[in-house]
Every structure is written in structure tokens, then in C-alpha cells.
């Protein structure tokens, strides 16, 4: 049997991927939007639905960013509510290990696993910044270097809690009056957490809910190799995907794990058309909707850390260089590029070679993996990436809320099923079964 493709649906929420100016764009808050996407993903037999998390509204140049979609509901509440309107779909939510405590996260994820009958997943992220911390009692106490130390111990502690009820602890013997027996006290004493007591949630249907990791540094990859079930990565192109895949899978044996125990699922966008030309034309339109003139300037300012509002987005790049020592102008967006001068030099070279305006350049350099083409072509590419080990599957990021996934499910999934690389129906009940049973 060929390698099977894994698929997840990212809720198109907060960012400039989400095109709000499209007349078909609906609410990113109302529950009906989440329900629509979840039902579509389940109709398509997807492995799971995925929610990202942001804990402070983005700011740019001292003001709340008003050009992108902002505002989202609470992750765990939405997932619990989605468990009511789906029966098989996995429900994955991002919860920061920095601004939560293990007892609560363990309890929330375990609760969702019970409420959904074994479909919960937790994406462990490690937001380090004190700026987000201003919304929390904890504040911004955590040094960047410490965030994976905390994340690792956090996850280990959560797992101790999940394991603390014996699988058969819920006795329910009415005659002899034994409700539960075998609830072990947990004692966790480590540098990050010194806690003890009893957990309130029985062992869950999955035993251990699924753990996802999203973070790209060496520490992040080690953390994932040691302990995660799935990596949500940003390496979506064929080349960088293969490199990332090989790098991460190479790390597994040192932790006593097999390559099949950790799935790599990059974020990917897609655009479908009746013909290849239609699809490319539509993709081009979408990019211009996503990167408006103001967005292009703001994006440049993120790297330059300077006020560039006087520049014309349709004109050439500024002559001035980035200010490498300045405080960032944008808060709330993960910066993957560390050296602004090097980035600027690279971008200048690209702009010069391809004769690009600021806006065109931003469109060019922010393009993430896009599957663009007819349904058949997109199915072929997705499959090619998976068979050539650039990924185990994808977390699809539609650009429209909530209907952006419909065409993929209706048109692309059947092609994948025809090729024998994607399930025609769920064969198990739990997310763990969807992901790992052959």
C-alpha cells in the first residue's frame, strides 16, 4: 500500500492569509463558521481540525493592527463545542505552555478527549514574549532560552497527570459502594514545577491525547523528536520540506523512536481552478487581496524596524537600510528571520533581479507553499510531496472563512482516494487511530 496522506484543516482566522474583502468571507468568530469548517473536514474524512492561538492582538507601530482579520474565540471552548457537531474528526488546539499551568491544560485537554470520545490534540507552543505576558498573572517572566525547558517539563507533567488514574479506576460498583479506586497521587518535583495532588479526570479514551509541536529552532525540533506525535511545520516547499523531514526523522532513534511515530504536517495553502490557467489567475488575485499596499509597507517595516509610511508600495524598495538595533515595530507575529540586514540584502537582490515593487516583492517573499491548479493537479502534487518524503501530510490553510475548504473536500479528496492514498471512510474512532493505525 502506498504511503497514506494525512490531512488537517486549519481554521482560517487571524492573519493576512484570510481574505476578508471577498464577498464570500463570513464571520471568523460565530460558532456557525467553526461548525461549517468542522463538518466539511469530517465530510472529507480529515484527520483533524486545527486551531491556532494568539493571546494578544497584534500591534504595529504602537497601534492595534487594523488591516488583517483580528479577534478569535477561546481555543478549548470552541473545540469542546465542536465535539457536539462532529463524531470522528480530531480536534486539535494550540495552548501555550508559557501562559498556562500543567494542571489546567491537562484537565482541559483530557476533558475534551472525554467529551469527544477520544479525538483531542494539544499543539504545544512556546510563546516567549513579555509583551503577550502583559495579559497574564504570570507576566513576561520567561526568558527566551527557558521556554523549551518549561515546555518540556510542562508536557512531561501533563502526561504524569493523564496517567495518574488507573485505566480501570472508575469501578462504579453500586452494590458495594465503590465509585472509584486507584486514583494515584501525582508528585512532580522539578525545576519548573513543584506540584502534587490528585487529578480530577479519569484516564481518557485515547489514554494520551495527541501532542503536536510547532516551533522551528533546533530546540524545538529536539523537543518534537523526543516527545510529539505530530509536527506542524512551516516548511511546505518540496526542497525545504524534504530537508526538514529528513532532519527531524534523523533525530528520532536517539530518543528510541521510529520514523513512523512522528508525523510531519506543514501548513499549506491551495487554490483550485477549472483549468491550470484559471487557478493561477485566481491565485494571483488572492495574493493581491492578501497584500494590500498598507500591508506591504507594514511587512517591510517589520524587517526594517523603521517608519516607512512615506514610501509608495508600488514603488521601489527604500534606499535606507533596516535599523538592526531598533525595537521591533510589529508585535504578535513570529519572526523567523533573525538578521534584518541580511534579509534586506537578499530582498534587494530579488527585487532588482525581477524588477519588483515593494508590494510585488512582499507577495513574492511571503508566498508559502501553495498548491495551485486543477483538482487533479493539486491531488497529484499533494501525493508527490508525501510519497517523496517532503511531508506526511498537510495542514490546509484556506483563505476563506468558513467555506474555503469545501472545494478541496469535494474535488481534491476524491482524486486522492482514487489513488489509494487517502481513506474513503474512517476506520477508527479516535484521532490516534486515524493518525497511526495502518
Amino acid at each position: 500500500m502506498p504511503k497514506q496522506v494525512k490531512l488537517a484543516a486549519h481554521f482560517p482566522g487571524v492573519n493576512n492569509t484570510t481574505v476578508w474583502s471577498d464577498p464570500r468571507s463570513g464571520s471568523q468568530i460565530d460558532f456557525s463558521s467553526f461548525e461549517h469548517l468542522a463538518r466539511t473536514a469530517e465530510r472529507g474524512k480529515f484527520d483533524f481540525l486545527f486551531l491556532a492561538e494568539g493571546l494578544r492582538l497584534r500591534e504595529h507601530a504602537g497601534e492595534i493592527l487594523d488591516s488583517d482579520v483580528v479577534g478569535r474565540p477561546n481555543t478549548t471552548t470552541v473545540l469542546a463545542a465542536l465535539s457536539a457537531v462532529t463524531t470522528r474528526l480530531g480536534l486539535a488546539g494550540t495552548l501555550s505552555s508559557t501562559f498556562n499551568e500543567p494542571y489546567e491544560v491537562a484537565r482541559q485537554v483530557a476533558s475534551i478527549d472525554h467529551l469527544s470520545g477520544g479525538r483531542a490534540a494539544w499543539n504545544v507552543v512556546t510563546s516567549p514574549d513579555a509583551w503577550t505576558g502583559q495579559n497574564f498573572r504570570r507576566g513576561g517572566f520567561l526568558k527566551r532560552e527557558d521556554r523549551y525547558r518549561r515546555a518540556e517539563e510542562f508536557l512531561a507533567t501533563v502526561r504524569e497527570l493523564w496517567d495518574s488514574w488507573a485505566p480501570d479506576a472508575l469501578v462504579g460498583d453500586k452494590e458495594n459502594g465503590v465509585f472509584a479506586r486507584g486514583i494515584d497521587r501525582f508528585v512532580h518535583s522539578g525545576p519548573q514545577f513543584d506540584i502534587r495532588g490528585e487529578f480530577t479526570v479519569p484516564r481518557t479514551p485515547q489514554g494520551q491525547p495527541i501532542v503536536i509541536q510547532a516551533g522551528d529552532s533546533d530546540e524545538g525540533r529536539e523537543f518534537a523528536a523526543k516527545t510529539a506525535d505530530v509536527i506542524f511545520s512551516r516548511h511546505g516547499s518540496l526542497e525545504s520540506g524534504k530537508e526538514f523531514f529528513a532532519d527531524v526523522k534523523r533525530r528520532l532513534p536517539a530518543h528510541g523512536r521510529e520514523p513512523g511515530e512522528l508525523l510531519i504536517m506543514p501548513a499549506a495553502t491551495f487554490v483550485l481552478g477549472d483549468t491550470e490557467e484559471d487557478a493561477h489567475e485566481y491565485a494571483r488575485e488572492i495574493r493581491y487581496q492578501q497584500v494590500r499596499p498598507a500591508t506591504a509597507i507594514q511587512f517591510l517595516e517589520q524587517v526594517w524596524s523603521r517608519d516607512l509610511s512615506a514610501y509608495d508600495a508600488d514603488g521601489p524598495l527604500p534606499e535606507v537600510d533596516p535599523d538592526p538595533d531598533a525595537e521591533p515595530l510589529t508585535w504578535g507575529r513570529v519572526r523567523h528571520e533573525k538578521d534584518p540586514l541580511a534579509v534586506a540584502a537578499k530582498w534587494r537582490a530579488i527585487a532588482e533581479e525581477k524588477k519588483l515593487s515593494i508590494r510585488e516583492l512582499v507577495i513574492e517573499v511571503t508566498a508559502r507553499q501553495q498548491f495551485v491548479g486543477t483538482a487533479r493537479q493539486v491531488a497529484d502534487s499533494v501525493n508527490e510531496y508525501v510519497q517523496s518524503d517532503a511531508a506526511d501530510g498537510f495542514v490546509l490553510v484556506p483563505h476563506l472563512t468558513p467555506g474555503g475548504l469545501d472545494a478541496f473536500v469535494d474535488d481534491v479528496v476524491p482524486h486522492l482516494q482514487e489513488r489509494g492514498v487517502f481513506r474513503t471512510d474512517y476506520t477508527g474512532d479516535t484521532l490516534r487511530e486515524h493518525l497511526f493505525s495502518r
Binding site: I29, A84, Q108, T200
Partner: protein, 357 residues
């Protein structure tokens, strides 16, 4: 009959019922307490009778007691989130503890329950004062009762500020200017209190009710500011809480004859005494229906927080017989007249503290 005082009725859905031995006599399997279906079934009973709301107790520690009591529970707010899309009228009021949970998370979680239920969310805000919860978090010492209550009050204030931090209509999707939101309608709450600080604004827009209903127990000092107060001590209640909707806790043991009800009560008491606190009634559904308006009028109550001794048994009799009798007497609604919990309770539209008058 239109002039008779209209009662408000909430129901506690904790465990297998309010009595510690309820799980032994209920027809419900103990494992069902850890499924959404269990809570959905009971909420549907309450909804079919157009009751105001259901509550679900919670703490961040295991229930005290030994093998013979219900131990363990799921997160109450998430449990109600999991039944929100499958109900349409009943208010959903989970207990949330305010001592250890981040106010920011709490605020978005309740707002999101309000979105998922389309305006039927509330919270029963309670401080936690147990050493067990302290050791589960390991980051602070046990707060004094006074501090825990003061912090509870601060949390309740801050979560309302966060709900208000997006004015209604902040999302404008203004194509010509390329603005998705009008940031003049978003507000930093900049809260600095004794126990914590929060910058804001919320990440979640203002929920459908503006302010989901905040309920507290009457022993909380904060109760004086709350819109709904659940009281166990009925004497002088109206004097103590002049402005709140006052609902008295009332445990019920029902049966078709008074004798049978007393028999049921004794059978339960053979296992364990009834928990202290609140009023209690043992008798027929019809007698209970006659009793409720009298009690309410005598003590200036707005209604009752019904605590069925055994679920679903006592809730089923209450909704099948007591409620129709109350309706016949003209003291309880025939059907929901509004769609939100605020409307059920007759609470006005929540003003936004940031919006210009």
C-alpha cells in the same frame, strides 16, 4: 393571572444528583458522568420545561470523600460548551474558580461559551480556598479567605472589562480604507490590581449578551455587585441583596405520594446524610408547586436553584409535574419568551463601560 410574580428556576446538574449516594440509586451508569450525553440529556429535560438555566459545579481538585462518593469530574465550562450547540433555550452556567485560572483565559472562555450558545452563557464565579488546589498549581500559598474573595471580585470586574474591550460594531470590514476593524472601538483595559494586572484588549470580540450573566453564591462578599445571587440562607436575603436576582438553593426529593418521597429520602439517608445548606423539600411534585410561590413571596425571592437529590429522577418529576402546575398557576412561563439567558432572567441589556453614552 398576569400579575402573579414570575419565578426564575435554575437546576444543579452536579454528579448523579445532589445526594452523595445518588449514583448508587440512579439508573445512570457512573461512567456516564464523564460523557457529554449525560449532561445533554438533563439539560434537554430542563429546556423542555423552559427553565432559566442549568449549573454545573467545579473545582480544580478532586471532591473530598472516599471510595463511596463520586470522584472526578470534567471541566464544567467545557462540558457545557459541548452541549451548547445541541440546545437552544436553556441558560448554561458553569462554575469557574477564579483563584488559579488566568482572568484573560476565563474571560475569553465564557465569551466563547456565549458565542457557541448564541447568548445563553453565564458563570458562577467562585474563589478556591483549598490547600489541594494550591498544591496542584504550586505557584502561590493559600490565600486568606479575605484575599481570595477580594481577588474573586477583581477577576469578575476584569473579565467584564475585557468583554467590553471590543465595542459592538468594532468589526467594520471597510473595503475603501482597507480596515477590518475600527480600532477606536477597541480598548486597552490596563487593569492594575492587588493580585494581577491585565493589559487587554481581549482577543475575543464582545459576546452576544455583552455580559454573560455573572452569578455568585450569597456567602461571597462580592455578591453585592452581582446580578444573580444563589443563596442558602434565606432569612433577610432581600435586605442583604436589594438589587440582585435572588435564587434560593432548594434540594428536592420527589415522589407521587408524600409517603413514597419520605421513603426515598430515608433510603438515601441510609447511605449518608443530606449535605447541609439551603432549603429542602420532600414530597409530591404538586405540593412543591404550591410551596414555591409561597416561599418566594414570604422571603422576597426571585426564584430557586433546584438541586435534585437524584438525577434524572427528581429532575424528571420536577419538569413533568411541578413545572406544569406552576404554569397553570401563572407563576412560570409557558415557553421561552426570549433567546438569551439575560432575557430569561429579565436582566436588561448590558451597558458597555467604554462606549460613549
Amino acid at each position: 393571572m398576569g400579575s402573579a410574580q414570575q419565578l426564575h428556576l435554575g437546576v444543579a446538574l452536579d454528579g448523579a444528583g445532589q445526594h452523595p449516594a445518588a449514583w448508587r440509586v440512579s439508573g445512570v451508569r457512573p461512567a456516564a458522568l464523564f460523557t457529554a450525553a449525560h449532561y445533554l440529556a438533563h439539560a434537554k429535560l430542563a429546556e423542555a420545561a423552559s427553565l432559566d438555566f442549568v449549573t454545573l459545579d467545579d473545582t480544580l481538585a478532586l471532591q473530598p470523600g472516599g471510595e463511596e462518593v463520586v470522584r472526578g469530574r470534567l471541566d464544567a465550562l467545557l462540558t457545557f460548551a459541548a452541549i451548547a450547540p445541541l440546545t437552544s433555550g436553556i441558560g448554561l452556567v458553569p462554575t469557574v474558580t477564579t483563584t488559579h485560572t488566568e482572568p484573560f483565559h476565563l474571560s475569553t472562555a465564557v465569551a466563547s461559551l456565549d458565542f457557541a450558545s448564541r447568548g445563553r452563557a453565564g458563570i458562577l464565579a467562585t474563589p478556591s480556598r483549598t490547600e489541594a488546589e494550591v498544591t496542584h498549581f504550586g505557584r502561590r500559598t493559600l490565600p486568606s479567605e479575605v484575599d481570595a474573595e477580594a481577588e474573586n471580585a477583581e477577576v469578575v470586574d476584569v473579565i467584564a472589562q475585557l468583554w467590553d474591550s471590543w465595542e459592538d460594531g468594532a468589526i467594520i470590514r471597510d473595503e475603501p480604507t482597507g480596515r477590518f476593524i475600527d480600532r477606536e472601538k477597541l480598548h486597552y483595559v490596563d487593569f492594575e490590581g492587588r493580585f494581577f494586572s491585565v493589559k487587554g484588549p481581549s482577543i475575543t470580540p464582545r459576546p452576544p449578551q455583552g455580559h454573560p450573566v455573572v452569578a455568585v453564591y450569597g456567602d461571597s462578599p462580592y455578591a453585592h455587585g452581582a446580578e444573580v445571587v444563589l443563596i442558602d440562607e434565606v432569612r433577610d436575603a432581600r435586605v442583604r441583596f436589594p438589587d440582585a436576582k435572588l435564587l434560593a438553593g432548594l434540594s428536592i426529593v420527589l415522589a407521587e405520594t408524600e409517603q413514597a418521597a419520605i421513603g426515598r429520602r430515608h433510603a438515601l439517608e441510609a447511605y449518608a446524610p443530606f449535605p447541609a445548606g439551603g432549603l429542602s423539600f420532600t414530597g409530591t411534585p404538586a405540593d412543591l408547586a404550591a410551596e414555591l410561590p409561597r416561599l418566594a413571596a414570604a422571603s422576597g425571592l426571585d426564584g430557586f436553584h433546584i438541586r435534585p437529590a437524584v438525577l434524572p429522577d427528581d429532575l424528571a418529576l420536577f419538569t413533568a409535574e411541578t413545572v406544569p402546575a406552576l404554569q397553570a398557576a401563572g407563576v412560570f412561563r409557558q415557553a421561552y419568551t426570549g433567546t438569551t439567558l439575560r432575557e430569561h432572567l429579565g436582566l436588561g441589556v448590558a451597558a458597555n463601560q467604554y462606549a460613549e453614552a
